[in-house]
Symmetry: D2
Subunit: 372 residues, 4 copies
């Protein structure tokens, strides 16, 4: 069987999730090529070694440029903090490697555009990890919307709630430093909801945002005093979509009790859809055309063998988890590479998402609407 | 407007709920006669006086036989402990009064049959307070079942959970004394679910039950020591229905955290219905004939003006409460009396329910199936 | 017992809800005066007559000025479209009548201020019908917030979703005419959530809003052609609170499947509260200080006898409905009048709410933040 | 690293789930030995080949006795229909192989006891696949019960609902043939709930059951006419536990709309626990000792790093799926084998579960209580 050699940069949370996807995807999907876990790159040698042993990465390096130089790497997976996305992706593209990159694509539109242009120029396959498109319930929602099941969309409301920053003693991380991350909750969380909005509802024309920071200073984890938080704790914005829908978005890390709660409420002229990431195997659907006395939101358990991606897994009612979204996306990427099909979501989608994110930040600074 | 003179026996929880129904029903429904709160009977004079003042009962007495003797009483409402149902109902019927009686109809089938026969012989209107039939969501369920929306019923599962007896220091009441009440959770709670079963699923052929008592002795509330609990704390049973369905029932006052949780799960060949009394404005409906990929339990908010009884109330989404069930039943009773229509549920339904209840107790004693 | 003579202006949905409250409040609460349904005023004589008969209003008139002139009216209840609130309230105040008025207080701040000043000058009791303050779960939330149970509030998110305007053939009403109503979903629905925000989270400093109209023209119900909709179908806004919280609000009549869905999500430093009007007997509460492994949103069934207002009603688990909120508020009003206590919410609250509402509309026109 | 050679018998649904567990467990847990997918055995050669390729089983055979004979097999995984459990397990034990077996252990107690005795005599490690013990929420429930969080258990109510047999044209399978399966829904579904009952609530003393078959004949899938269904479509029973709790159990494949819905309701003197397999990342907990006005069922999202097994996976709120339960159990088994600890659940648990299952069937035939 044909092989596809993968190198990964980043060994933490996302590195782990992606490693699992590469090693598992072939056990469940019939693929045109088998991903080979060729090389892993990380900054901490001990952690890198453990990581590589666990998931079976054949080689390791602490210098990502080594990856670029190798002939036996076909695909580079970028799972690092946001400030290194552009240099790695651009160098990789120039070396003719396919690239898949964690969201957000970069710290700002300028970097994103450079990445997109480099990738297009090189003619490589390029993919954004917008893994929530690959939740079966979301893929089903997309299909239902495309079929007209909820008609013309009036409202696209999205929240992404977490609560891990409420404690003011939670230490500084790269996510609190605008230089490393670009933004806080905004780029991290709204990147997901903006991408889902574009996927499900179309392009955004203009935005009006507000950002807020509840904790101004946090301790450094090494005990060396307090650092200044230069990123937002929460970010909310309104959006006008090209199709006439009104969007209301909110991402926050101060929603006590909500752990990883991404909720979509999509209200259309013929029906509605509700999704909650903490119950990602379910999709609520209201059909206005059901007989009026027996209408109601249906709770669809999205585990039928005919539901998107589910045929590869278990019988109906046997739920899958968060990690499966990566497996589904890697399946699409391997097919895109091998069949020379366009990959979606690509850096184009990363760039378009970043345009909205930057527009919101810009709008929040100005206190008024900004066109995208 | 024609008037219908009502006398009530019992001034506690149920007396209050019924008083509210008589005084309010005419504000919302067009009735052929107006209920007049003529006379209230209670044992405690002070409480009786307050009760009568609050709801506007014109006269009071501490002797229920006085009610029987009055010419200006048309309808007697029996809201007393179970052991007085039969004597009051039989005397009332003989005096030509219409009767409405709280559930369970009596302490046992023998009393129930005497009541039914006395009522029939007298030609009066007789009604059982099985008020949950008059929850709009239940009335809608009945309509849907009659229309075949869930097909042939395979399973009728009913629980009634409360938790007010868990504390072993909760004192003795008449409900703990088999002489006064006949049974405990069984007659009090299963009376409701058995009636709903008969209403929604049809007659029961045989039962197999188990009863349990977790607290054997409780203190008397006057401090005079401990009394022996001679009634069940919980009662569960299986039932074979005439239509081939299998029933599983459970009533308990030891379900910690459940306050007044009556849940029905009705599974049929074409669909299913789920009901929960703590959310009585909702009915969950699964339609097997919806397209398979977008099937799911629909949560119907039963507040459309076209839903049963709702037209008299508020706009859609403005929920009603538990007390409204009595108003709906009194509306039906007033119409039955004035239009000389049969009232349903009647003492017949009380008797049939009691046959099942007694059958279960009998079965629990014997440890095996009993035919009804 | 002392009597309090009430006159009502308006015989439709709200007239009905208020009538029920006046007639029922004394059956359940011990009041210092008994409300007498003295006079009802409406424009349609036939409907007025039926309305008065149903609820027992002693007299009727089609001219609200007749009410002002009567000596035997103590309290005027204004349940009319928004454009008549100010003239009736001001005239009533000048005549020394106590006034209770439906929300929003008026079409704009100018009218609201005139009403407030007239009422204060006259020294009457004045009340706003912000009935959702009197949902027991909301009153409990207020108590919990005041006790510090959720700490410092970071987020106050409120939506009010309905769906009755989605059909473009739904006819023009006074609510679609800015002259009569001031605004559309905004004044009707956001009035509620703004009041709850002020009640639970405090004053709002600045807002940034967006309004949208999905259907520009609707048919007149008399078949005389099409009218222009001059009010919003939905209105959303951000708010900065004085206490540092960030608010996100949205009211819409285009949320397919949501009938009367008002949801609050209040996230604080120590916990969170979630409320949904379609399940108004419940309150969700997250306590950050519970042991971390057994934390979770608690679903409190707000039907304990010790919960606000519930002692007057039924045993635990026996739910109440939407109409009860009016009964609770009338109870407070009767006590305020008789005990000469300040009534809350008063026209002051109506005015403060209107300042926010007008600020939002202003902000939506300008496309930027507006200070309140 | 030490290796543990595994052979599997059975290549269908369970074979797939177990293969995934062996191949993935080492990526997430630190194990004393690495499972090697040494040999797979199936009846259909083509399917076997594909199965082995997908998951990387090194060798294949269509004769399970070949597995017994190999020296390089340490652990045999039995994922076959119920009638072959005993012969394979007994032969394997005699050959000194460790054994893990799918539930139910066998067709009846006689077979189960032979298996248990053979395993004990051989001194091998023996395990039952009761994978729901290894749902983190269930493991947390166990911990909470052991800590006394819900006090003395009064009620243990368990249902297992599926709906895949409602269509009478669904063909005959080995599950409809008592010779191959022993029983229908009973052994398949109640095996899970009985095991969870023993795990969470302790041993069962006596049972009283009822079984029902709604479809008597089904077509053979090869078109060769109709076969007689000799197993139950549903089975319900009452149980008295040694600790005084009352159990109510029901397993059915005729619960329309329920796909894989296993619900536990455990009511104790100090609190309660509710679990639903279709939302297996959640556990509802009621604590009677919370302040009474702010009590309620808490929805615990069981995804903290400190929750059982979760530390190996993802950050809080990122849910896992059904398949993870097998990975957790295999982790326990590898440790038991390598550290020579007793494995729980073992064949002993399989035997004890079977005693209850057989007792229920026996009771259902007799129509009365049976002691275990």
């Amino acid at each position: 069987m044909k092989e596809l050699n993968v190198a990964i940069v980043g060994t933490q949370f996302m590195g782990k999730a992606h490693s699992n996807a590469y090693s598992k995807v072939g056990d469940f999907f019939d693929l045109p090529a088998k991903p080979i876990l060729k090389m892993a790159c990380g900054v901490n040698e001990e952690r890198l070694r453990q990581f590589a042993n666990k998931f079976g990465w054949e080689n390791t390096t602490t210098n990502w440029k080594k990856i670029i130089q190798r002939d036996d790497v076909d695909l580079i997976d970028i799972s690092t903090p946001n400030d290194s996305h552009a240099p790695i992706a651009i160098a990789g593209a120039k070396a003719g490697k396919h690239i898949i990159c964690e969201k957000p694509i970069a710290r700002n539109v300028r970097e994103a555009r450079q990445m997109y242009e480099a990738a297009e120029e090189a003619g490589i396959a390029h993919a954004m990890i917008f893994n929530y498109r690959f939740v079966p319930a979301i893929a089903l929602a997309k299909k239902m919307i495309d079929e007209g099941k909820i008609g013309k969309i009036h409202h696209f409301n999205a929240v992404y709630y977490q609560d891990w920053l409420i404690d003011p003693n939670f230490p500084m991380t790269w996510r609190h430093d605008a230089k490393a991350s670009g933004s806080g909750a905004h780029g991290d969380m709204n990147a997901h909801t903006v991408d889902l909005a574009r996927y499900l509802c179309g392009e955004i024309e203009s935005v009006n945002g507000v950002e807020k920071n509840f904790v101004k200073n946090r301790p450094f984890s090494d005990g060396s005093g307090m650092g200044e938080v230069t990123t937002d704790d929460c970010s909310a914005f309104f959006a006008h979509f090209q199709n006439g829908a009104l969007g209301v978005f909110q991402g926050t890390r101060f929603a006590n009790g909500r752990k990883n709660y991404l909720r979509l409420e999509i209200f259309g002229s013929e029906g509605s859809l509700i999704f909650n990431l903490e119950r990602l195997n379910e999709l609520e659907y209201f059909n206005r055309n059901d007989d009026s006395d027996i209408q109601g939101f249906r709770n669809i358990i999205v585990t039928n063998s005919t539901h998107p991606y589910i045929g590869a897994w278990w019988p109906v009612g046997h739920i899958i988890g968060w990690e499966h979204t990566f497996i589904h996306e890697i399946k699409e990427l391997v097919e895109a590479i091998e069949y020379k099909k366009p990959m979606i979501p690509s850096f184009w989608d990363g760039l378009k998402c970043q345009e909205v994110l930057d527009g919101v930040s810009n709008s929040a600074r100005k206190g008024k609407w900004v066109n995208i």
